[in-house]
Symmetry: C2
Subunit: 323 residues, 2 copies
Amino acid sequence: MLSLTEIYESYQDHAGSVTFPSSPENLYGSIVYFLDYPGKRIRPVLCLMGNELFDKIHPNAYVAAYAMELFHNFTLVHDDIMDHSAIRRGRPTLHVKYGQDTAILAGDMLLIHAYLQLNKITQEYRTQIINIFSEMACQVCEGQQMDIEFEDRAIESVSYAEYLKMITLKTSVLLGAAAKIGAIIGSASAKQQEDIYEFGKNIGIAFQIQDDFLDAFGNTLKMGKQAGSDILENKKTALLLKAFELANSSQKNQLKEAMNTAGESKVQAVIAVYKELKVDLWADWAIHHYTEIAFNSLDRIEIPIHKKEKLTELANSLLVRQS
Amino acid sequence: MLSLTEIYESYQDHAGSVTFPSSPENLYGSIVYFLDYPGKRIRPVLCLMGNELFDKIHPNAYVAAYAMELFHNFTLVHDDIMDHSAIRRGRPTLHVKYGQDTAILAGDMLLIHAYLQLNKITQEYRTQIINIFSEMACQVCEGQQMDIEFEDRAIESVSYAEYLKMITLKTSVLLGAAAKIGAIIGSASAKQQEDIYEFGKNIGIAFQIQDDFLDAFGNTLKMGKQAGSDILENKKTALLLKAFELANSSQKNQLKEAMNTAGESKVQAVIAVYKELKVDLWADWAIHHYTEIAFNSLDRIEIPIHKKEKLTELANSLLVRQS
């Protein structure tokens, strides 16, 4: 069995061996620019680990892993346009560097290339994989649509349940599908496929809530971004939506008043209500809750426990709790 | 064998039987809105006719035909954003009606759903079809990238040869691929597949040049749009690029001066140079030239001539020459 680092490196070797045409220069140049960034490659690594859980890593798993990464980048490129994001991973976003038109096309091409990769997989399980992938892809688009619609809705009209559905679709099903597709290539049973999918999906949900939690309560230095930036932007996070669910009318007014202000005092005012409502403790509970669902799913897979260590290691590296 | 109308109607029956989920309402609503327009459905009809050339229409061909239509609509939705088009087929474009974010996502979903359809095709030829489709899809994106880059380039820096490459990629390879994919499902030989592809592609090129020709020299009433609109917009058409290739320096100056003016006198001034350079005759020749290449390709396919009548009928309905 390979170590986590070895899996990462073997994936990078595979991804590095894939080339794109050179013309039109801006279109393919923008794709290479965007794919070439430092990162953990969580989705392809999860796909390879889902495969290695059941078998030695199969060449098809590298192909599928690369398709997952291409798909992930497709969503990032198009999401950055919709979110008007100027910076990603410390560099200009694709649409800022190459213009919106090229960014739309580059995203489209990344999606097409993901399918070109999937079409290389052995026929035996290709049909199933392309269906799972496409269903997941639709869900991710649905989640993004929900997210952009949340922006325009009044805070009290969005429930935490809707938020949970949105992040599940937008970010978590991709982690579930990546692990599941790896498992399919490893000839996992239908039950095992479902369990590994639930593992990936729930780790994703826990990670997303943690992201919201750390923005309000995390250590700025560790996070590498300003604490409270979600609060400053009135972003509809798990914390804010749960706070509105728990708040009485006076606390709701406090939150709404704070949301109309700015600066450090705004952050402090919102956090004060969060603490009063124990939203911090709730978030900590929720992170543990989804992590537990994930690990229970992993436990259900009847294979020697040492084979699961790397998935545990990966999950723990994502879920670095402050407590 | 079915008549052209029967093929069209059988396709519409198939397409009408496909449904989309209802939520998120705006996302799927926008897709249904965009797909539900009156039109000739040239690409799916071509796919079915490519199939019927070699066999009775196979259920797989309807699935592939629908994928072609979904793909075509994906390109229209994203192109309309890039081209800032407000109206298509007499109705507001998707991004005007539903906003740009939803339009990006709706386009993405149409592409994903095209693949979901292709993944239903019998395994026997599915791998080949998905590869041909994906290669075509990349070419279409490349063509669109070339087109948007042409916009920003000086008129004299774009050659007619580049324009020809651009329209071939952006619009014609889809017609070629639609017919070819139908033929593959009809168990056509590799040579026959190539011939039907060349038929579709070259009809597409002829149609595109005709489109440019009619804008300058066509009858406004018959066309349903204002004659000379390309000239008024200084659009880099086959005619304008060929004119610059044929013009001496004095004629180039005449064209450039005219391009800086507006209104009916601008149209007349540009058309005067076109006539001086016999660009109208050249365009008529070019349309005939590509039509001939198309029909020669069709002729090479050794099947009874009556089986080809519908393809001839379709091509003639597209290429309604004024002369």
